[in-house]
Symmetry: C2
Subunit: 342 residues, 2 copies
């Protein structure tokens, strides 16, 4: 897919990050769907996922969907690091490429908050929702800005990156770094072997064991397992997904923890407990790196937390918009959460 060019750029100015570095002249790429109403009460924030762009999120938006642009004003901010917002691949020296600073979920949400409040003048959000790292940003919004978030619906993601999930991140990044062409991030030519290895490691995690057993990849138009590994997985990660960008976003993911929000001093449970709005989490039954158990754990610490497990064999990609049944399940969840009292 060609990289989208239909988005707007919001000038963030100089962003001082949690780790102390300053991202100068930072930019937040975003797209909106629908019209902001007069009292600015119909806004939704729907952040992107690991390497996803706003266009990759559009499958959940439509006049036949809960995220209906005839009724809602849906803002899709691109994550810092995804190649459209400020990223290793597009930041000028000296903070370019391997020197791009570490960005936390908290930092991500503060940038989005600036867009929402300063640019749009929005003071409350009807809903925040997102898949995977988008779910992580959803949790972060609910903790960072309980005064604004009326409802939250993270799907296939978590409030804190579990240890096992971190091992998964170690595995994909170690595969990428094993390619000498990666040159510690100072490559001029793509470390293609490393990217393809990264892709093959990811392939085992993105979908469940049962997905492969049942050869569900046939529904996506692939002719054999190897065709799926090359065509879907290698193709996906070779699609203009810059390795330094992937590592920057992996750093954000690895360090995901709402407890690291200022004021909570690393206390994840205390942070979860501070969430005021109804929060519906939808993990996928067979998600291998965001298992439902982790969400059950989180929900017990969120006063108005609820978990609904997406059934089926698609694993993490249940939330990727590729399986109509799973999309319908998520859409129904969003419909229900939008009907809840804030």
């Amino acid at each position: 897919m060609p990289i989208p060019t239909d988005h707007q750029l919001f000038e963030l100015g100089d962003v001082v990050l949690q780790d102390g570095l300053t991202l100068r002249d930072a930019k937040l790429a975003y797209q909106t769907y629908g019209t902001l109403n007069d009292d600015k009460s119909n806004a939704v924030v729907y952040p992107t996922w690991y390497s996803g762009r706003h266009t990759d999120s559009e499958w959940l938006i439509g006049t036949d969907k809960a995220l209906n642009p005839d009724e809602l004003f849906i803002i899709v901010p691109n994550m810092l690091g995804n190649g459209l917002s400020s990223s290793p691949s597009n930041t000028p020296p000296p903070y370019d490429r391997a020197r791009f600073p570490h960005v936390t979920f908290y930092d991500q949400v503060e940038c989005q908050h600036k867009l929402v409040t300063e640019h749009f003048g929005i003071e409350s959000l009807r809903l925040v929702t997102g898949w995977s790292m988008g779910a992580g940003q959803t949790y972060q919004w609910a903790v960072s800005h309980p005064e604004m978030v009326q409802r939250a619906a993270p799907f296939c993601g978590s409030s804190v990156t579990s240890q096992h999930n971190r091992v998964f991140l170690e595995s994909i990044t170690a595969a990428l770094r094993a390619d000498a062409a990666f040159a510690e991030g100072w490559y001029r030519e793509l470390p293609e072997k490393g990217i393809r290895a990264f892709a093959r490691v990811y392939a085992g995690w993105g979908f469940s064991q049962a997905f492969y057993w049942q050869e569900e990849w046939r529904r996506l138009g692939f002719s054999s397992l190897e065709d799926f590994l090359v065509g879907f997985w290698e193709g996906f990660w070779l699609d203009e997904r810059d390795p330094n960008n992937l590592l920057a976003m992996a750093w954000t993911w690895w360090h995901g923890d709402v407890g690291n929000t200022p004021g909570f001093d690393g206390d994840t449970v205390k942070a979860l407990n501070s969430i005021r709005c109804p929060l519906l989490s939808m993990p996928a039954e067979k998600d291998l790196y965001f298992p439902p158990e982790d969400e059950q754990w989180a929900a017990q610490h969120i006063p108005r937390g609820e978990v609904r497990v997406i059934p089926g064999v698609w694993g993490h990609f249940a939330g990727g918009g590729l399986c109509p049944e799973d999309t319908e399940f998520i859409d129904r969840g969003l419909r229900d959460v939008l009907a809840m009292d804030p």
Copy 2:
């Protein structure tokens, strides 16, 4: 651990493999525990697992165990490719290193059969058992030699390598190959970065999500997650486990399928159906690459097949002898299967 030197070498002579190549002057390294009785009725075959050596299997053998060397004669044959039996690392040119021929589970078992029958003159086996790829060899024994195998007890392994399991194998091997130092197998210096990447990928699979969540690695004496990744996982795969050996064994694993036994023409179900002895399979509840579901599937096609799931969070390594509770479960299973009528 130093590479063991206490084993015997059985001269296999020239072995014609399923894929048509001949492994000349092949050697099978093995160790025995206990004494073969006069009527040769107390023999057990207990094959090794992926990269494991006979010494790595001794935790399940003992006078207080089902595999009691005071009563049984336990033969532990080292898999071809494991570095002790004929392997890429020890075979002279021209079939050395990256040119080592492909060996199937069927080939492995034929070599072991030669040792058992020609060297020891044994005509029936009281039990065949093994972990992981050792379980694959157990299934293969039961299909290749139903006339000899009186009981079978594979644990944490399968009769056919599932598609998802193949993706797992693709992921570890792609990480290793991504290191240019691997040089398509013609390295003279170890591709250490590739091995360490291989190790990190493996780390996510060997134990379950819950194992990491509960920080069970503390029971193994590690002080942090990273300490476990370096100390256990990188240490494990850097311990004289030659990369070409790892790839040779991964090839065997990837192609595991009892249906490829001569006479079954690729029909896995027909092959399972031909197993005559009682077969007790013990998958681990949270094994990520040999999930219990696959064993339930296999058991329904084995006339005297039974499945007992090892409970707990250790995942695949439930069968690795590191968790006392799991070892006790497996030992009890072996005790029960040894008491069954052949």
